[in-house]
Symmetry: none
Subunit: 203 residues, 4 copies
């Protein structure tokens, strides 16, 4: 049979890469970059380790492309778009984001990126372009949440103080929790979200 045409090929190739990147994000998020073995990614993606190298040049490359893919407009931004169009109050929006961060939805990709960043912040000796990407990804959340925090402070719904710093603390707490056993968070999520939001709510 004749080979597939170019579109079909690209389609298939993209799907395969995505399959591997999904697996990579999951495993990187669970184990941290250094402790993640290619074999673990391969197993998670149900392919041979050789195939992983057919699509990616190196472990660093997998990490880079996976984070890049995981933070692409149409995925991560979606969450914030939904949020901004929801008509909720700033604090409600932050609670919703917190809820989302812990939810096991199909939006776990965003969550994984979040957790990987947590791991990477502790890691030294990564290539520059990876560090840059991680910083950018972190910046993304800051930029998306910053206006919400600011508005909340204006309305007196959120406590006063340096917005950036307050946001930084909140995100650190979130990412720190995610690094723990996520299953712990399955129960009573609403109450936990409520408690976390108390850190910043003015009352």
């Amino acid at each position: 049979m004749a080979p597939l045409n170019e579109n079909q090929l690209n389609q298939k190739k993209a799907e395969r890469k995505e399959q591997i990147m999904r697996a990579a994000l999951k495993v990187f998020a669970d184990n941290g970059v250094k402790l993640t073995k290619i074999s673990m990614i391969a197993k998670e993606a149900k392919v041979s380790h050789g195939l992983v190298y057919h699509y990616f040049d190196s472990k660093d490359e997998i990490l880079y492309e996976s984070i890049e893919w995981g933070t692409e407009e149409n995925r991560a931004t979606q969450v914030f778009n939904d949020l901004n169009e929801s008509g909720k109050s700033p604090l409600e929006k932050i609670k919703a984001f917190t809820q989302f961060a812990f939810s096991e939805s199909d939006r776990w990709v965003t969550q994984s990126v979040f957790r990987i960043m947590q791991h990477l912040n502790e890691t030294n000796g990564l290539p520059d372009h990876i560090n840059e990407l991680v910083n950018n990804a972190g910046q993304f959340y800051i930029e998306a949440l910053s206006p919400i925090f600011r508005e909340g402070q204006k309305f007196g719904e959120i406590i006063q103080g340096d917005t950036e710093e307050l946001l930084g603390i909140y995100l650190t707490v979130l990412s720190g929790i995610m690094a723990d056993d996520p299953s712990f968070w399955k129960e009573n999520t609403e109450w936990k979200v409520e408690i976390l939001s108390r850190m910043i709510s003015a009352r």
Copy 2:
């Protein structure tokens, strides 16, 4: 010089072991267990890696004994004894503990154990006796803080709800933060402690 007598020998041996365990706790806390190499512990303790194996049977054994040593009554409990004799209110005690957890005091041993537990919670495939020890060490903090929380709830100083769960959330948040770049917490510590305590304070 005449050879040391048996007591002196044991004394010396114990000192050496302690020297290595101190180093181990520090390095384990900074890097996580898996990423800590024996050579890193040896370097931190200023001994050869061979000597480490003279005193300990394996890496797991170092971890086990180090945590055990770090949680022994006369060390970790000290912190809580001081707290309980301070005459502070429950919430103030919790703030003081939080403060301590982030402080770079000479009581870093307790802190290290805390951070190692954080790393270990993410790790699979550890020997059973290590897991048990980690759980015990976690239990130690829970048991020490539990009465304080309970008292705070009785006084209406701390929000209502399942005490164990509330404490669990609080500890998870703390250990999660510690896994982040600790230098971030050097600045503005008091404000940050204040914010964290807002999670549980009744107001």
Copy 3:
């Protein structure tokens, strides 16, 4: 379009194989057998690596068939036929052959085989049938040049001594040089040929 008939098919198939064998000879000659990757041959032949395996069973097989093809009567012999009909003196013939060996003519196939043999002489662990072929190919040059050397000795144009051994030395020198950067030989070729011929010229 109607399918090709059997002759046309065989014709096409033969052309494809030749295309690959030409590429293989070139790449093998430049890099040595072990360091030549299938992908390099495929790229040189402008086909996919999969197609290479459609026509050949293995890398060894490519090597075998390529050398065989490259030493077939109607190709390699041509050089010596031309030489023998040239009316030159034996020493002149040898100089001409030497010249040819270094020239970048379209007769590079013969040259490549020559260089591959050089590489292979150093290699252990090749299948027997390959070793035999290499020996045969070496023998081919010896048989073609032997009468010329012998005649030169009879005429006193070439120094006395065991003809086979003298020829062996000369060929070893030539193939040794070829393994070097061939570009070095681009300049001053005639002088270099002259110097090499001095080894055997009686003067």
Copy 4:
């Protein structure tokens, strides 16, 4: 028992390194750098592959240090010192050097370096410092032989022409031959040396 003192340690360490470098030079010379596996060096040196990495950081490092060690004053220069003090005529010196180059003496180290350089000249993609070392090592032979060639030309014992180029051809021929099966050269060495020297002798 107490550990060895520093001198003894350095002594032992140096001997071990030398043992490995000897093995490395031999194997590199026989197989070329790319095709030499660490396991081959380890086997030749009769040590584990792990130990090789105890003394050297990488394969490139082994290559670098081995060539460096093999070209150190007290080894390679010795040959030329002996030659210059021998009172031989220039052409006789060159024959002696040629003889030496093929001899299986304990001076094979120099010979190995010679052969490795031959292999390396064909190789691309080596680190800069290795390339530099190889060039230097090549330069070493050129500088040692250059005055001898020049003198021979002055005396009319060696043919006229660009000295450097003539020397270059001669060295290329020698190294080319060495890359061949050296056992071939075991027999009739004197005659072969005689023939090679004819390339440059004025007669």
